[in-house]
Symmetry: C2
DNA sequence: GTCTATAATTTGATAGAC
DNA sequence: GTCTATCAAATTATAGAC
């Protein structure tokens, strides 16, 4: 049992606290004091370890933003069939988000607030998703008459939208459909099967 | 030509400037100075007209949040067929957002930042969308064997996700798919037809 | 490394002249 | 109503003791 709970280093405590505060309040809404409180220490230590708020934020944001684009490339560029790719993408992505419920809002929020930072720092040309192969595969299957005619770009947008949006609009759905947190989670679990079925029904011949 | 450009009152100028700054930077990111600059006046005037930042924000937010839920009820509760409702909902919603591109991010952002405010102030029980009739209609058409079995909740989530998400994830799509602002807009125009087709293909028998 | 105390800066808000 | 100047509060950041 290595490095459990209390055995976290100070730096790790800070990062965990910063992650929690930043992902719920955003960069501009978060206070250094909030983070210090959450970490059970004083503000001075935050600066001792991470110099200033910007540096601390960048540290958290980069780590989180990468989780937001998980094994996408592995799936997109695998040798599986299109339908299997869709199933795997949706299912794995929803699992990832279920274990990090604030992730989509946090990343999208900062992405819209400061697109430059996002494009250059997060996607330094390395970990940027490469949808080219998937797009080509769609186009090919359309030509071969395996699936109905659909623009690959629209299909990709649909996959991503169906998967991510419910988490971003969660407060809206909770209130509007009168469902509990627990029910919401169950519905998201269902969507791991529902979404691929929906998409495949839409495009199969 | 009533009340064109320069003939705007000071209050209108402030609201227009506040709208622009708040919708792009969010409540916590926006600075009163930014708004004053944008409006071409000084901070003192903002306080003279709207007392404080919270009041000014609330003023803007309430107006914008209502645009975000347009004639939804009119569509949801009309006597049209399910397929026509889907077509109208998607098409009208995309048109609304195209004329207010920052709207989805702004509203969703604040909704996640401060759900309480959102639920009580925006949805004061009046303008809250009432999806009950639409949900019932879906259920009925499933039972009648007109469409494939699908949970009404999932179908509603799908409609909304497909329509709104691309605007929230816009920076991601722009960079990742290497498309321009102009191309993005064209793609959104296409989606007014693409999405209803996609959904109907997915559920029709 | 960690703390307390304090400085420095940013930002919202007001006073008072015009 | 609108401005300049200024204050007050909030918030980030540092100095210095331990």
């Amino acid at each position: 049992m290595v490095n459990k709970n209390k055995s976290k280093t100070t730096e790790e405590k800070i990062l965990a606290a910063a992650r929690k505060v930043f992902t719920t309040k955003g960069m501009t809404g978060a206070r250094m004091q909030d983070i210090a409180d959450e970490a059970g220490m004083n503000k001075a230590l935050l600066h001792y370890y991470f110099k200033d708020k910007d540096k601390l934020f960048e540290n958290v944001f980069l780590a989180e933003a990468q989780k937001f684009f998980p094994k996408i490339n592995a799936i997109f560029n695998s040798e599986e069939t299109l339908f299997d790719k869709i199933r795997n993408f949706v299912s794995e992505y929803i699992d990832e988000i279920l274990s990090n419920p604030d992730l989509p809002w946090f990343v999208l929020n900062e992405m819209n607030r400061d697109p430059e930072q996002f494009l250059f720092k997060v996607w330094g040309k390395e970990n940027l998703p490469k949808p080219a192969k998937l797009l080509a595969q769609v186009e090919q299957e359309v030509k071969a008459g395996i699936i109905k005619p659909i623009s690959p770009v629209h299909l990709l947008m649909n996959m991503i939208s169906l998967t991510i949006f419910p988490f971003v609009g969660k407060p809206m759905f909770l209130y509007n459909l009168r469902i509990s947190e627990k029910q919401f989670r169950e519905i998201m679990e269902q969507r791991k099967k529902e979404i691929p079925e929906f998409i495949i029904n839409a495009i199969k011949k």
